[in-house]
Symmetry: C2
Subunit: 182 residues, 2 copies
């Protein structure tokens, strides 16, 4: 995998990504590089050795999250293939997205604010494909609204609650549910 990197460098890279995510979530997208460095117990220069730019760092953090989500979505599709009802897995998908709302919210804003046009094709494409399969399966079995598309879901999700409170997320899911069913 990521060989050709010295052991400590690999460790530090991971530590930087973790800390950056935590800091962005806690203090918003405007955390300074120095603050991230402090929180990570490293020097600023080290951040710049791994990420040439603050934008690059944020992009890496966001990409990581998108990959996690894509993994979860593929797993959900796996369960649908194994017999789990598509509508339930779709619901679980929404839960996951919204549970990570704090992250996604802050990070989305971060990516928008800091980066220029940012996209992470590989993971996004994987996730989209899995989601499309789930939706189609649900429509075939009549448990998901006929005209629902992946784009629709992203429209709903992209806009999910930015609130951290658990009851807010649960209420949002409850409100949204009728949108998914026939």
């Amino acid at each position: 995998m990521t060989h050709s990197l010295r052991a400590d460098a690999r460790r530090n890279r991971a530590r930087i990504l973790d800390t950056a995510r935590a800091q962005i979530i806690e203090h918003g997208p405007n955390v300074g590089m120095s603050e991230i460095a402090n929180a990570a117990g490293l020097a600023v220069g080290t951040l710049y050795r791994h990420f040439p730019t603050k934008t690059d760092l944020v992009a890496a953090v966001v990409t990581e999250q998108v990959e996690r989500l894509a993994d979860a979505t593929e797993a959900a599709w796996g369960r649908v293939e194994a017999g789990s009802p598509a509508i339930e897995e779709l619901y679980v998908f929404l839960c996951r997205v919204v549970e990570a709302a704090a992250d996604n919210g802050a990070l989305k804003v971060a990516a928008q604010t800091l980066g220029t046009e940012f996209a992470c094709p590989p993971a996004a494409v994987r996730g989209t494909a899995a989601l499309r399969k789930i939706i189609t399966a649900g429509q075939d079995s009549g448990s998901i609204r006929e005209d629902l598309t992946v784009t629709d879901l992203y429209l709903l999700v992209a806009t999910g609650p930015l609130d951290h409170a658990k009851h807010t997320r649960e209420r949002w899911l409850e409100l949204i549910r009728p949108c998914l069913m026939p």
Copy 2:
């Protein structure tokens, strides 16, 4: 009204607010004061004569929008009192919010990003009151989901599409509609 202001000053104040709104919508919340000043054909110092801080300027712009929305909501309640179906007026309310999506999105981000805790009580309270009346009326006549609250609506709306495209907004409304009905 706003007397005790010289005529040209009043003109400029208005021009600043308009330009600031336009610039924020077009270039995001990070437009510089100088850019706004240029676009308005004024000098930076003039902006600072009217608004001691960039945050104050943004707050003024946001407040203006909230007031517009509150007016519209009160008008909608007026129509309900005059016999218009509450569910339709609620839908119209959503349309208005979403039509101003570009504004609201950019400005909301702006207020969050720039300001500290920002609230504009007077207008917000007016709007909320009117909205509550509309919802209650709809529930009494059985056309609006029994457990829908003002908070729910804000949850859906606060999260409306940030996209400028008309078809995106229309699709969002279409998706959301089932959430409102019994």
